[in-house]
Amino acid sequence: MLLFILRRLYQTVIVIIGVVLLISLLMSIIPGDVARMRAPKGATEEMLENIRQKFNLDKPFLTRFWLYLKGLPTLDLGDSYTYKRPVMDIIRESLPWSLKLAIVAEIIIVIFGILAGVLSAISRYSFWDVLVTISTSILVAMPIYWIGRLLQLVLAQWLGWLPAAGAPPPGTGFWSGITYYIMPAAALAAISTAYVARMQRSSLLEVMRQDYIQTARAKGLSNRRVTYKHALKNGLIPVVTYIGIDFGILIGAAVLTEIIFNWPGVGHKLYNAVLQRDAPMVLGLVFVLVLLFVFINLLVDISYAFLDPRIRLGGGEEVS
């Protein structure tokens, strides 16, 4: 077990070094005269020179690479071109909003994804099964921001049940606060819920075909008991791992949903930074989110190894 954790840690360190190098490289090869783009109209050459100096744009490629690289281990991501503040400060303000949204989305994924998958598997080829299969296929093929707009159209515009966009204003009570979360979290969760449902279905069907289930049936156990007591436990393992890894998809998708719902998280900040061509902000945000993703994957893998002895005793390669 210790060996497995050490090997996984070693891999993670290598990946993080690679990510750091890649982001630094991207940061130092941005083409075009950034200073001229950032400066107000009619700026003098002296002002441009000041801007260049402030953001190290006057230094040669390798020096810039080194300066940026040096800051990353201490999470010094430089200053944002537009906000004129350290990128890390802005991330500290907005990350909690994104994490809260992601947690609500994960809850939706777990409840609806697993439930739909199980129902679909136990009543195979029924109306319900066909409905789940078709709707999950369609969801997977939809641009996520369109899902968000459709939810707004139906739930806010037509039915008026939920607030159309934005985060709960300060001082909002818990229950009315929740209403702000439902739509963005549902949009964020939609695609992953579809994947989880499909995965749960096939995983449970696979387990139901195994010998020990036949044995349990032969012993005269009821269908319900065989399904829920024996099959579901093992049928859940791949799904649980997927849900962990899926966090990365959520982080990516969050960018798109946060824009649609005007949510004050990192995704929204990232979008603004993209529009403003604010490279330190974009790459800094991407760096922190990727770091988060890598750590969560590490935790999922290690906890998975605790759950499934096959992983830590030999098949460890499969999860890497």
Binding site: A141, R149, Q152, Y195, V290
Partner: protein, 331 residues
């Protein structure tokens, strides 16, 4: 003289009768026939299974239609996709006001957008972007992925470690974030969309291909080819590739759908095909703004994207089942 054998019996691993002199020569001829027959039989089996998979055939039909629309866009479009009456000095003010956001009619089959442009013609021309992004991005991924996957799987050693650790680094980037990072550096535009999506896809293909190479590398026919002095490139291309390409075909098919979807969200982030040129992602992004007043508009590019992506998923699913019937039903 050996009996006529079923090609299956000629596969390595089956016990063969001992042969002498001219018999060997005849056997080799048979073997060659069997090999050729075996390969065509494999693909005709695959086609047979695919043909009987209704959903996959629906997917294939939609894909063919999509390609035809993209190729013949100038013939199919009945308006200039860029023409907006709002910018035409000859059009009167009243006429301008009337020309925008018109619901479908005989003149404008799918209505007009906020600038009075014909939505049907924009949709038809927009299909070209989707097809281009899908094909070019996947080809770039394939080119890089197959090359490095083959290098890693076939030669192993430290090269393998370096390539696979680099692949891990790419896996650490959720696609949206990776694409945003690359596009910020390269700048917006269609060519850069090809590059960003293409570059991000290589790692998965390399990993799949490396895995399948490892599983066929030690087979006896590969060893035989090596013993006969075949070059590395020849062995990879002639012997390993045909036996390990199947999962790649499935992945690439689905990848085209993924790339079409990626074009849509890159357009949403303002990083894709630049306006006013039409792409489905651009159209959807523009029409989203009118969801309160004219919600029908966003359904046109939205459905076009969903149907095309779905078609590639269905065909990919079908191909996977057809190529490897054991995988049937798994996702």
């Amino acid at each position: 003289m050996p009996d006529r054998r079923d090609p299956d019996d000629l596969r390595v691993g089956k016990e063969q009768p001992e042969l002498h002199g001219p018999e060997i020569e005849e056997f080799e001829i048979e073997l060659e026939k069997g090999r050729v027959h075996g390969r065509t039989a494999l693909w005709s089996d695959v086609w047979h299974r695919l043909y009987h998979n209704k959903m996959a055939m629906v997917g294939l039909a939609i894909i063919i239609l999509l390609f035809l629309v993209a190729i013949f866009a100038p013939l199919l479009a009945n308006h200039d996709p860029l023409y907006s009456p709002l910018y035409n000095p000859d059009v009167g003010a009243a006429e301008k006001a009337e020309s925008v956001k018109q619901t479908p009619s005989w003149q404008n089959w799918l209505g007009t957008d906020q600038l009075g442009r014909d939505i049907y013609s924009r949709l038809v021309y927009g299909s070209r972007v989707s097809v281009e992004v899908g094909i070019v991005a996947v080809l770039i991924s394939l080119l890089i992925g197959l090359f490095f996957g083959a290098l890693a799987g076939y030669f192993g050693g430290w090269g393998d470690s370096v390539i696979m650790r680099s692949a891990d680094v790419f896996f650490a980037f959720p696609t949206v974030l990776g694409a945003i990072a690359i596009m910020t550096v390269l700048g917006p535009g269609l060519i850069n969309v090809f590059i960003a999506i293409g570059v991000l896809g290589w790692a998965t293909i390399a990993r799949i291909f490396r895995g399948s190479i490892l599983s066929v590398k030690e087979n006896e026919y590969t060893e035989a080819a090596r013993a006969m002095g075949g070059s590395h490139a020849r062995i990879i291309w002639k012997h390993i590739m045909p036996n390990s390409i199947q999962p790649i075909i499935v992945y690439a098919t689905m990848g085209v759908g993924g790339a079409i979807l990626a074009e849509a969200w890159l357009a949403f982030l303002g990083l894709g095909q630049q306006l006013p040129l039409p792409s489905w992602g651009n159209m959807l992004t523009e029409y989203l703004d009118f969801y309160t007043t004219d919600p029908w508009m966003m359904f046109i590019p939205g459905l076009a994207i969903v149907i095309s992506v779905l078609a590639f998923i269905l065909l990919g699913d079908g191909l996977r089942d057809a190529l490897d019937p054991r995988m049937k039903g798994s996702i």
